[in-house]
């Protein structure tokens, strides 16, 4: 039997986690590692590896076919463009502390789409194949230009047989026209809710009356719409995080069960590397505590909530088809199925790329609506968009589940060839997958209950996470 290469990583309890390139994993002791590395596999080892489809006899036999299939399905294939992030205005009626780089004051001029730009955007959308489209309106505050949102939506509904719209709004000010826009069944709301009221005010609204307005509108929206229409995410200051219990209560009160915990993302080369390390360690610890708290809370209340990105990573471990989240998939080709169009009509590969370019250090724009997407520039970015043969990733047990973030590397280090273990992305994901496997092998009732809920199965049992003794 030929055994596929196994990658290994030590787990916190001293055992080793093994994984092959197709994402087949198991836990075993150091004894197995020694036997494997010294070509001394026992009969029991071989039987275990055979049953787990970690090896094969002949190319094209069933185990080979199964492995090749799973490996292939894990590759994220470039699809038709069907997701476009639009920034019709950079102007905003809030001044959130962590957003200074991407907004313009409400009364400023020159930060909205011109008529030409709107025309260019519609022309670009018109060139898409369809049949489906998802449009995400970002900003600034998109609702400051409902007229532009309406123009885009009307066009898309006409052209595409299936369209969906998401408005990323701060919910500060909603007039009748804004409510009317949001009322549509094909339109969804994404907002920011930074935990408890205090934190939200400190980080975003700064003023009691402004905070009141937000919560009033949020409450009104939740009362007006059914569950699933509104999603929200908290931005967390690592140095001053909110009370997580209160955050979860808050979200649950507003009918939102999925919480995508994100740290304040300080853009720019001003971040020093060691400062980055310290913040990374603190963030990882915070996130781990959040997951523990979440598992305990879910079990206590019987009402299940999730941390969105953790659930994504969990699915990426267990399944071979979990590549619908643009932040984590492998390869992560740019300008394939989604693209960003800025207030000035420029294309960007991601929203982070747009924000990075705005602070002026590097221009990651990839064309404009008048002249089209610059494929040569996209190709350059794409050269770093996968991890399969990276000299560090190739040895990593998490490689099949993980990905790359070219833009984040550029933003922090000015280059994309920093050894993986020294990057924020790697440090972040090592911790995340460590946590995923810790929970998968925890073997207690609360963990099992949350795993079942997050995976959409009725029950999880310990036998579903393989162990080789």
């Amino acid at each position: 039997m030929k055994v596929w290469p196994l990658k290994f990583r030590e787990m916190s309890d001293g055992s080793m986690l093994f994984a092959d390139d197709a994402g087949g994993f198991f836990k075993a002791g150091e004894g197995f590692l020694d036997r494997y590395a010294t070509d001394n596999l026992s009969a029991a080892d071989r039987m275990f590896l055979k049953e787990g489809s970690h090896g094969f006899e002949r190319e094209h036999d069933l185990p080979w076919t199964s492995f090749a299939y799973r490996w292939t399905r894990r590759q994220s294939r470039p699809r038709k463009m069907n997701y476009v992030i639009l920034v019709p205005t950079l102007r905003c009626n809030l001044a959130c502390g962590y957003c200074q780089v991407s907004r313009a004051p409400e009364k400023a001029r020159g930060f909205d789409w011109s008529d030409e730009t709107l025309g260019g955007v519609l022309s670009f959308l018109n060139g898409l194949e369809g049949p489906d489209i998802k449009i995400e309106f970002q900003g600034g505050e998109p609702l400051l230009r409902v007229d532009l949102l309406e123009a885009v939506r009307d066009f898309c509904r006409e052209k595409f047989s299936q369209s969906q719209f998401v408005v990323c709004t701060n919910l500060q000010r909603l007039d009748a026209r804004a409510w009317a826009f949001l009322d549509a069944d094909d339109t969804f709301i994404s907002t920011s809710l930074d935990g408890d009221r205090q934190t939200h005010e400190r980080q975003r609204t700064h003023d009691g009356a402004v905070t009141d307005a937000f919560f009033r509108n949020l409450g009104a929206a939740v009362a007006r719409y059914s569950e699933g229409k509104i999603s929200a995410l908290p931005t967390v200051d690592v140095a001053n995080p909110p009370n997580f219990d209160v955050l979860l209560d808050s979200y649950e009160r507003y009918g939102i069960r999925s919480v995508y915990l994100r740290p304040i993302n300080h853009q720019g080369f001003a971040r020093k590397l060691h400062q980055g390390d310290e913040i990374l360690a603190r963030w990882n610890r915070l996130h781990s505590e959040f997951i523990d708290l979440l598992i305990a809370r879910n079990h206590r209340t019987g009402r299940f909530m999730e941390e969105y990105y953790f659930s994504q990573c969990l699915k990426r471990v267990l399944r071979f088809d979990a590549d619908n989240h643009v932040d984590i998939r492998n390869p992560n080709f740019f300008a394939a199925d989604y693209v960003v169009i800025d207030h000035d009509g420029l294309f960007y590969p991601t929203d982070e790329a747009r924000m990075l370019s705005r602070i002026g250090r590097i221009d990651l724009s990839i064309g404009d609506v008048a002249t089209g997407i610059d494929r040569a520039k996209v190709d350059v970015l794409n050269s770093g968009a996968f991890n399969h043969f990276d000299p560090d990733c190739i040895h990593c047990a998490y490689q099949p589940f993980c990905g790359t973030d070219v833009v984040d590397d550029i933003s922090r280090y000015g280059r994309v060839d920093i050894p993986r273990p020294d990057t924020w992305f790697c440090g972040r994901h090592l911790a995340l997958f460590d946590k995923v496997f810790e929970v998968l092998y925890r073997k207690d009732e609360p963990a099992r209950a949350s795993l079942a809920a997050w995976l959409g199965v009725v029950a999880w049992d310990d036998g579903m996470a393989p162990v080789h003794s």
């Binding site: 030929k2 596929w4 290469p5 196994l6 990658k7 290994f8 030590e10 390139d21 590692l33 020694d34 590395a37 010294t38 070509d39 190319e59 492995f67 090749a68 490996w71 292939t72 000299p391 190739i394 040895h395 050894p419 273990p421």
Partner: protein
């Protein structure tokens, strides 16, 4: 299989079993990147570790062993990986 004995303070020597010899050089390179404060050198069938600052003997021994393992696994299975990619991308 790998013997450790102190020469002076934290310094120690790791013996390389014959089947791993060809992978030691590339392993050492990776180890230097991962542990820049440690001084590692090879002489024939042994690796000498001088100044293993920041890491315990056990940790560094494991790191060395595991890195050598990884180099061996990588080299011996590269052909399998190439064959797989060829097979699934063939027209």
């Amino acid at each position: 299989m790998a013997e450790l004995f102190n020469i002076s303070g934290f310094d120690f020597v790791v013996e390389i079993p014959p089947q791993f010899e060809e992978y030691v050089d590339s392993a050492l390179l990776r180890l230097q990147v991962a542990h820049p404060v440690c001084r590692l050198s090879r002489s024939g069938k042994t690796i000498t570790v001088q100044s293993s600052k920041g890491l315990s003997e056990v940790e560094l021994r494991k790191a060395i062993l595991h890195t050598i393992y990884r180099e061996k696994i990588y080299a011996e299975t590269l052909g399998m990986r190439q064959a797989l990619v060829e097979a699934v991308t063939a027209r």
